[in-house]
Symmetry: C2
Subunit: 471 residues, 2 copies
């Protein structure tokens, strides 16, 4: 192609990406793997609109979240009929008031709030327990930086309408299976929000769950001494800090850890206080690990009572998954929540869910070189174009291969073979078929495997024979 | 679940939709079918961001299109620093100027302009000829009405960087294969823009291609007499109208039609004028039909020299596909364009493409009852929950089935069997497995086919036997 040099400089918005054929094939492999596992566990896909009413979104993600929502200008003249005087302050235009008046819709910020809205809207059509998954892009007006995008996919799976710990087990099994199929070794860490509540209770500081967990969440980053300093600075007593220290220092098997924490929760800590909530959390954790052991899990799963994620949200089990062979933070996580739809005034929808971080999983697979090598080219065989008559000769054969599911291409123009061959190379196509008048006379097709140059002749109708050779 | 009645009234924006599990399964079946065919023809998927810079989108779809773009408010205070005086007119706020100042991005309006932008931006990485497909939502601030949405999926397939008519053939083959797999009988109509140009030329009105084609495009709706009236009112001579009438009255086989039009273009019409362009268009049409006949097409394909679609855009072949058994207008269409990237100042990117109308295809399949009956439930078998010990007994077996790709569910809670059974019914699950202490003692699993009540016992490890029975 003769491209002139007059092309305008074109670009895409900051923080967004194009996905070319190779990246798409790799991303599809991740999503297809995840979806296939979701389906074997009975989860079913739903989709919600990209836009939601701002009344649905605002106030659900905190002030920071409200600021990061992408707002969509109302269609038509969004500012028609607005009185300029009302939208002007001493400092100029009143941006906040104008945005409110001119925008009724915003782009989806996550999949959780739209899911809650979906459940409330469709509660009379849904069969509970409802096991749904959803894989769609979300948008956040975050400052773009390495690994952080303004448009990215979330991949959520939730079971709602059942308190059973079997749901928690199945999510752990899904994590196990997905990462095994993707070839990523992971560690799954499990905690229970009730144990964290219990910890605050036996510290004699039941109101300070958030402060305590925010502090211990930093353990890996800043070390035990700094955590202690932070706790003391928050006004937590020295005795309580000792209790927390004991929790953080736990080691041993899952049952040993559970047993140690049970002793603490049962009055055996420095404070001597008992937490019923904490004990309940331990019972749940114990039962979940009993189920895990009955089901059999391949990847590493451990109880970690210092794990704290999305604290304000979760009420039971908490999960976090990290790759063992590549340091990139959490690649999957979630937990149980007791009131998904409470934000829309509908009580009692307990559920449990996890979210896979597709972009980070992509980065891990890329860094570890774990993508299957034949993803890049979906085309298996290129038929050379030798001219009009030869083309007509091969058309029915190519059609038969395609109808059998083999991805074939015919080079569109009868150009020099060297150029057609280069195209096959660049595209990573593994077989080449060159057929001229000889083949047409003999009613055969010639197929060459490019990796080793092995060449075979097939009867024109021998589709099965060709498929054997191509696979 | 005990839902309280306090739920807020929640809603989604006008013209948008939620897709529940059944609709998603049906839509996925359409998209998966289309994608699988695209792949066997060597087309590869790309994705572009939902947002594009407004500079990329504006002016590409005409004034109407510009008005229908969804604009995204800049993040932060979009109105900060704007001088109120500059954005106020006598009539109030200057909506157009404010929207321009406060919005830099818009939502994708179609897949063609983003594709052109993609090709220009990535021209140095792309291997030409470039065969890409793209299936993503687009947004238009159209007035919502039955069958017209503000968010809907487009499904585009294009081959660029090659003039060969083989590309046109392959698109016809793709249409043939897709609708055959979907079970929809269609008629593919083919014309060539050059023949329409030729018609205007032999009418002695080369500047009036648009008027002529707009008029004849209405033939089906308003009949030949009204078309004639319209042509005359546009100032087209009576002699020219006779020429056009002859074209519209053509019947016979493809070669007979081509031969008749060739006579007209070659000086045989009432005007006696010759059109080289028209003759070129006929040559192309003839060659394309020769290829179609060599490849073998199952669905009906006809030459229709009155077909006019996207006239300003196409330069060669024009396609339109209609369902034969359900009247809903065009469900797929496209054509050859000579300058996709010209809008961005980059010349010489000839290509040909078609677009599948997913929403209309969905409506046709729904109306004709052509969706496979087993799409709605992706879950094959429900294992009843008989309590904690029985649950542990079945877990490894269920895991083995899932790892073999069978979609299984275990009812999460040990509630009454009748409720578990109702769940299976509502979800359309076809097999039920109830295992109590007897099965555990004998190390067997009990599986019942719900359609006919047939029941079988399997050895616990006989995964293959179960899979046979389940399929």
């Amino acid at each position: 192609m003769a491209f002139c040099t007059m092309a305008q400089t074109v670009s895409i918005p900051k923080g967004t990406r194009d996905f070319g054929r190779t990246e798409m094939a790799e991303r599809n492999w991740i999503f297809d793997t995840i979806k296939s596992v979701f389906r074997t566990y009975g989860y079913q896909q739903i989709e919600t609109p990209s836009m939601e009413n701002l009344s649905t979104l605002l106030g659900k993600y905190g002030d920071e979240g409200d600021r990061l929502l992408f707002r969509i200008l109302n269609s038509g003249d969004a500012f028609a009929g607005l009185d300029p005087a009302k939208y002007t302050t001493e400092d100029g235009l009143d941006g906040r008031a104008l945005a409110s008046a001119a925008c009724e819709k915003g782009l989806r910020y996550d999949l959780t709030v739209p899911f809650a809205r979906y459940v409330v809207m469709h509660r009379n059509e849904i069969t509970f327990p409802f096991k749904r998954f959803q894989i769609q892009p979300v948008w956040r007006a975050d400052r773009p930086q390495k690994g952080r995008y303004r448009e990215f996919y979330q991949c959520d799976v939730d079971a709602i309408g059942s308190d059973s710990l079997l749901n928690e087990l199945e999510l752990v099994q899904i994590v196990d299976r997905v990462f095994t199929l993707l070839g990523i070794r992971v560690a799954v860490r499990i905690n229970n929000r009730k144990v964290l509540t219990g910890l605050a209770e036996i510290c004699g500081a039941p109101d300070m769950v958030t402060d305590i967990t925010v502090a211990i969440d930093k353990l890996e980053k800043i070390g035990i001494e700094k955590v202690e300093e932070e706790l003391l600075s928050k006004g937590i007593s020295g005795q309580a800090v000792t209790v927390i220290e004991t929790m953080l220092g736990l080691s041993g098997t899952v049952s040993e850890k559970i047993s140690s924490v049970r002793t603490l929760m049962n009055g055996g800590s420095a404070s001597g206080l008992v937490s019923e909530t904490g004990l309940k959390g331990l019972d749940e954790t114990e039962e979940l690990f009993a189920l895990i052991s009955a089901a059999g899990i391949g990847q590493s799963v451990e109880a970690d009572f210092s794990l704290a994620r999305g604290l304000d949200y979760y009420t039971g089990a908490i999960f976090e998954v990290k790759a063992l062979d590549y340091p990139i933070g959490s690649i999957c996580g979630g937990g149980r929540y007791d009131n998904l739809t409470g934000i829309f005034g509908l009580a009692d929808t307990s559920g449990v869910g996890i979210s896979f971080g597709a972009d980070r999983i992509y980065d891990v697979l890329k860094a570890l070189g774990k993508f299957p090598s034949d993803l890049a080219s979906s085309t298996c065989i290129l038929f050379a174009n030798m001219g009009k008559e030869e083309l007509k000769y091969i058309l029915p054969a190519v059609r038969a291969l395609r109808d059998s599911g083999v991805a074939c291409e015919i080079y569109p123009d009868p150009v020099k073979l060297r150029r057609q061959f280069e195209y096959a190379e660049k595209r990573g196509i593994r077989f080449l078929s060159i057929n001229g008048s000889d083949e047409a006379e003999r009613k055969t097709l010639n197929v060459k495997r490019l990796s080793d140059g092995m060449q075979r002749q097939f009867d024109y109708d021998d589709v099965d024979g060709m498929i054997d050779f191509l696979s």
